[in-house]
Amino acid sequence: MEKDLSILIGGEAGQGTRLAGNLIANLFNKLGYFVYVYEDYQSLIRGGHNFSEIRVAGEKKEARKKEIDVLIAFDKNTIFLHQKRLKKDGLLIFNADRIEQKKGIGIFADKIIKEEGGIPQMINTVFISALSKALGISFEILESVLKEKIKKGIDLNLKIAKRVYETLETKTKVAKIRPLANSLLLTGNEACALGMIRAGLEFYFAYPMTPATSILNFLAQKEEELKVKTFQPESEIAVINMAIGSAFAGKRSAVGSSGGGFALMVEALSLAAQTETPILIVESQRAGPSTGMPTYNLQGDLDFVLGAGHGDVTKFVLQAGNAQDALFLGNLGLNLAWRYQTPVILLLDKDVSENTFSVDSKILKGLKIEKPKLFFGKNYQRYKITKDGISPLAFPGSDFIVKANSYEHDESGITTDDEKIVQKMQEKRKRKFESMEKEVEKLGGIEVFGKNSAKVAIFPIGISKGVAIELAKEFNFKVIFPWILKPFPEKKVKEELKGVKKVFTLEMNATGQLANYLKRFGILAEPILKYTGRPFFIDELREKFKKI
């Protein structure tokens, strides 16, 4: 078989296709493949149709292909919906207890589980075993994955796996690749959480909202191991105001939500800027406006996030295009918040948050906790005027009196409307933003892929980064991914655009919000848009690019 496979596994909600997809991802991770898992599910608990699409390749490929190589069907609906995408010589594996079907490999999964005395969830084991055998993956590798991932009833699972493995034939062999070492499989949300932890995160506050919820769940389940505390208060308004309180008292704090929850936080975003309280806000976009589609992706919050906050609000806005970015930026974001005593927004989207990616574990080693600028001395003033706009920090409970104020204030924090002082304080925060701009220049803030001499440049948002990179190779385009959106890395971007004749943005929204944003910096880009809630297929973009 090829070195680039797409495996789709589908069924009803509650049948465990997501876990099965995860097992397959781990199987290929063990073989040293790059893995990308696209999750497609609906906002319901039982029934409906869920599927995972697992793309495995010898190199990094973080995009969906229309054609699939293997289709695993837990129910009839999966065959009905996805069979047309299966290659002619593709592999169909299905549950023969539930589906009547001539072609393909039918397994009487329910029957096997019943005879072995198993429970319904063990259907995952049946299918991953069937897949392993069909693709010629050794039982030893399968066994090690099952042992790692299944904690309860492993003996019975292995027995079932063995029975299935022995009754089937090998249809084809997985291609040999140069195996990848030290690769972790992480969703964007897990990666973001780990990145924050590596920056010393102490408190995470959140109210459940898809697709950001799994950051809260992940951290809550690993509180002891990761030495972090999580809390779910009464609303997103409480979430951010509490987090600002805990940061004021000296603890590294972050919050997360999707657009609707973030909207509720915005008044306090401005509070964080005015009181100069460090806070990291993770905003994972989902389809809007309003409640939109909870489990599908649109990148329609870009305008909102970039403009959020009443008054002249200092803030960083970062964006991640995969789990590796989320890991790096979760870390950097929290450190930047403390270095500049400012709110930082890390923009994710549903697919970056919930899809699974191969992440190079070496990156973890480079992630550090940065010390903020602390006060030493006498006569503390929370808002001391400084050259770089950053006033040293002190916390209540120490030797100093710390006064933080949402009103305009003087250096010691006392409320003021005195013209001269107001002007000085506004200018102090302005200088801080200028320091932040210099920081962006130092950091670079963009990633560039593809040919240096390319005549066409593409700016993707979030999850479209993967598909852009893959196509740029085919078409000799250049991809510019600004992972810092605010302050905008204008100089670096413009250097990269020298010699470029045509600029496109790749966006999952209906109005081309990134193209509009680029216009502010004199960059004219034509937006390529998709707004169905599903990310671009590489095939549909290829057709578009052929016409360029």
């Binding site: 002891e224 208060p233 309180g245 805990s246 306090a268």
Partner: protein, 264 residues
């Protein structure tokens, strides 16, 4: 320690908020004498006339958003449970805008103290009706009188789970001081409503003086007795108005539960 700052006080001359400021300072001196480190006190304010107290006290403090100081306060308490955390809030501030935080802080028994300056109107925005303004209140937004009846905040907070529920009146200075101190010393969520007449827009000084009486021999741990006394004045009827501690029990605090090592 010197508790007063140099900031110019901008309450109306004769405002009952001066009494709260003074009473609180007196209590601070007493507490300091009794061993409380003043640097381990943090107070918060919401937005409204009450909030101006932020500028007048040389203590760790956070001038929070309108209605949100109780949420911010719980964040501070979680981050550093050693700190004594006190919220000065207004009736518009915490019964209107931020009531969710008041109810949930009471429900959790968070170890913070909430002092409500209840002047029964939004005064700093030149007088509009709040959750505890009487029906028919003629404010700038209700020239014909408000059409809503007030609710009884004590009953609400009591039902939500507060472990300390009390009321005082600025017209009884010694009582005011006593209640502030009792509330600060309570371990758990302490709710103290301070009847604080607004002499400019809604002067209820005499109304309260005629009706207020001090609770005596109250059984602090009886829910029935507490409820009975809390309901005696429901902000609508024209009966007597009890002040004092209605209810006070000991219960593990939110922060103790939060940091309790897991059993598993």
């Amino acid at each position: 320690m010197k508790y007063q700052t140099e900031a110019k006080i901008t309450w109306c001359p004769g405002c009952s908020n001066f009494l709260i400021l003074r009473a609180f300072q007196d209590v601070l001196f007493e507490l300091e004498k009794e061993g409380q480190n003043p640097k381990e006190i943090v107070f918060l304010t919401g937005i409204g006339c009450h909030g101006k107290i932020f500028d007048y006290l040389n203590l760790n403090s956070f001038y929070a958003l309108h209605g949100r100081s109780i949420a911010t306060a719980q964040g501070i308490k979680l981050a550093n449970p050693k700190l004594k955390v006190i919220c000065f809030v207004g009736d518009g501030d915490c019964y209107n805008e931020g009531i969710e935080h008041l109810i949930f802080a009471a429900k959790r028994n968070s170890d913070i103290k909430v002092f409500v300056h209840n002047n029964r109107n939004f005064a700093l925005t030149v007088s509009q009706f709040t959750a505890t303004s009487p029906k028919g209140f003629k404010g700038s937004s209700t020239p014909k009188g408000s059409i809503e009846e007030p609710f009884n905040p004590l009953e609400l907070v009591f039902s939500a789970g507060a472990t300390f529920v009390a009321r005082t009146f600025t017209g009884n200075f010694e009582h005011l001081k006593k209640m502030i101190k009792e509330a600060i010393l309570h371990e758990g969520f302490a709710f103290l409503e301070i009847l604080q007449p607004c002499i400019t827009f809604f002067d209820l000084t005499n109304f309260f003086k005629e009706r207020v009486y001090t609770l005596e021999n109250q059984d602090f741990e009886s829910r029935e007795k507490a409820q009975e006394k809390i309901r005696e004045w429901d902000y609508k009827n024209d009966g007597k108005i009890p002040i004092g501690i209605f209810y006070k029990i000991k219960k593990p605090t939110f922060e103790q539960e939060f940091f309790k090592p897991s059993q598993s």
